[in-house]
Point group: C2
Chain length 339, copies 2
DNA sequence: TTGTAGGCGTTATCAT
DNA sequence: ATGATAACGCCTACAA
């Protein structure tokens, strides 16, 4: 019982004009008399004609679609990023094909190629995992290669290359500032927790280390811990830490809540005996008690910035688009610190 | 610096065969001699040829793409559903176009039509919001209309119609069972909290009311509260409740955590003085303290069921596909109840 | 202002 | 087993 698909010839016939004229009307050309336009529009409205996107795509080699790749969408940070991206893209008339690549290089490459073969107009990679860890430049070669076909935009990661555009947070400063605040309140044994070696994790660590140095506090390797991104795992890993500590800075809110659970289990007062700072300011930050002080990365701004530049590149063919835009973070103070 | 796009004619020329033969090789036809196949494949590999999807789409009228519509992706329930859906679809060689429609009828209709005009092979609507509230059958007419063009699959919602397929949870039973358990432990004043009038909210309420009735406990309208889906709002709304209560069943985990925050503010012991049960068993359920007893809806199963049937319908043209599949829920017991 | 015709890259139906 | 050719539906010079 499929609806009969009607095409431009049908409209042309019904309106007693040529298909060229119908095409002009549909595409808003000004070379059509008002009278014919009205006539054609009437027919189009009546039968509810929409141009066949495949045929359009074939000729123009674009379907007004951009590919969005995330490691996983099942994560509050990623999903809100995708939300803002697709909302903004849609406002410009673009659809998004979503693809979850996982965290492995192999998967990333495969998914990039799959989307390229779909002739998307641009590619957006969401998450600092796509920026590699800075050690092996080769790990991001596939991005530069993709950018030879289509402009690539990286959200929260920095990758250098022609036609590669990045939007990142000022993570170094954000962590530097909050670490300094903790130090100035007398905390000296501050734990830094992260679950990856990604671009943004590295920046956060840098801010942490820089703040310690600038306050003449020796770095203690035991306090920089690599953890698994699950709350209970973090709690248990902290319990095994041999040295005492009085504050925790985590690279995301889940990990921070893990630290909170550690405090709860140990019977430590938060924030008096242990201060905790999270990252991303997602809804988990207000689900716990006390509620979590967290660094908000203004993901909405990042996404809008990204899409605006994307449109400028692919539609207006603007050539002087910034390759790297930095969005500031904001410290949202709640109950797990004494700020 | 775009890469030169090479097409089937180029391959044909380089391999000294006709385009028809190239097409056969690409599509794995068995009417090609092993020798020519080798020859053509060699050329294809060498130059890295991939068929133009637009041209394929134009001829076959499909691009192996399904449209997924969610009210918002920025929600743990929706995002994990989308994760499982797209993962499974991709394993079958299908891509997904994602679309966030909001909760209003108007937006839903618009987004459905937009995806239809993209000639997706099927449509998946995620969330019971698409099932209407059961009062106005007209509210789901747009779904039946869409199903005239393409099969429609509803995740967690029940809509009747030709070529409309639904996968839902056994919400009535899940809530009935947990309510009964609470009653059997001596709780008599059980609050039921929901933020919508959706299909699944209605089923949950039904389970709640049925359990009370079966245990000869009078329904109290004051205890069935409609709340805003934000933790602090729930907390404050509960604080204004005039009648006492000793248990809360919430239609999602955020709302349940709101109840937890109410207890914390009032200084009530959980679960001794107030038991709390959430729904969806998302990561928020383990972020709070005590951790939340929650009803797990096995969203992974729902999604896999959905995609399996989708493939059966659109590829194998099977005709005896179940229009409604029910997946059981599972009660995950944690610290907010005395089960 | 309007119409004609060629091209976009496949797939599929014929012949051969 | 292979090749020639007609769709598929649209856009857009170029002609009128």
């Amino acid at each position: 019982m499929k609806k009969d698909v009607i095409n431009i010839y049908d409209i042309a016939e019904m309106a007693k004009v040529s298909i060229a004229t119908v095409s002009r009307v549909v595409n808003g050309s000004d070379k059509v008399s008002e009278k014919t336009r009205k006539k054609v529009m009437a027919v189009i409205e009546e039968v509810g004609y929409t141009p066949n996107v495949f045929a359009q795509g074939l000729g123009l080699n674009t379907m007004h679609t951009v590919g969005i790749i995330v490691p996983t969408i099942s994560d509050l940070y990623m999903s809100s990023a995708v939300y803002y991206l697709q909302e903004k893209l849609r406002s410009y008339g673009y659809d998004c094909i979503l693809s979850c690549s996982g965290f492995e290089l192999d998967g990333k490459q495969r998914h990039v190629n799959m989307l390229l073969s779909k002739h998307v107009d641009a590619l957006i990679l969401v998450g600092s995992t796509y920026a590699g860890n800075g050690e092996h430049v080769k790990d991001t070669d596939y991005i530069r290669e993709a950018a030879q076909s289509v402009p690539v935009f990286v959200v929260n990661g920095n990758v250098q290359g022609d036609d590669v555009y990045c939007t990142v947070n000022d993570d170094v400063k954000a962590v530097y500032d909050v670490t300094s605040k903790l130090i100035e309140q007398g905390r000296e044994r501050i734990v830094f927790l992260t679950d990856s070696q990604s671009y943004s994790a590295i920046k956060k660590r840098k801010g942490y280390e820089q703040a310690l140095e600038d306050h003449d506090i020796p770095l203690r390797p035991e306090l920089e811990m690599h953890v698994v991104n699950r709350m209970h795992a973090v709690r248990d890993q902290l319990a095994e830490c041999k040295v005492p500590f009085d504050a925790v800075i985590a690279s995301n809110d889940e990990i921070a809540v893990g630290a909170l659970k550690y405090a709860f289990k140990k019977g430590l007062m938060v924030p008096e005996e242990l201060a905790v700072v999270g990252y991303n300011n997602c809804s988990i930050a207000i689900a716990c008690e006390p509620e979590l002080t967290s660094i908000d990365n203004h993901i909405e701004d990042i996404c809008y910035q990204t899409v605006d530049r994307l449109i400028a590149v692919i539609e207006k063919k603007e050539t002087n688009i910034e390759h790297k835009v930095v969005i500031p973070c904001e410290l949202v103070v709640r109950g797990t610190t004494e700020f």
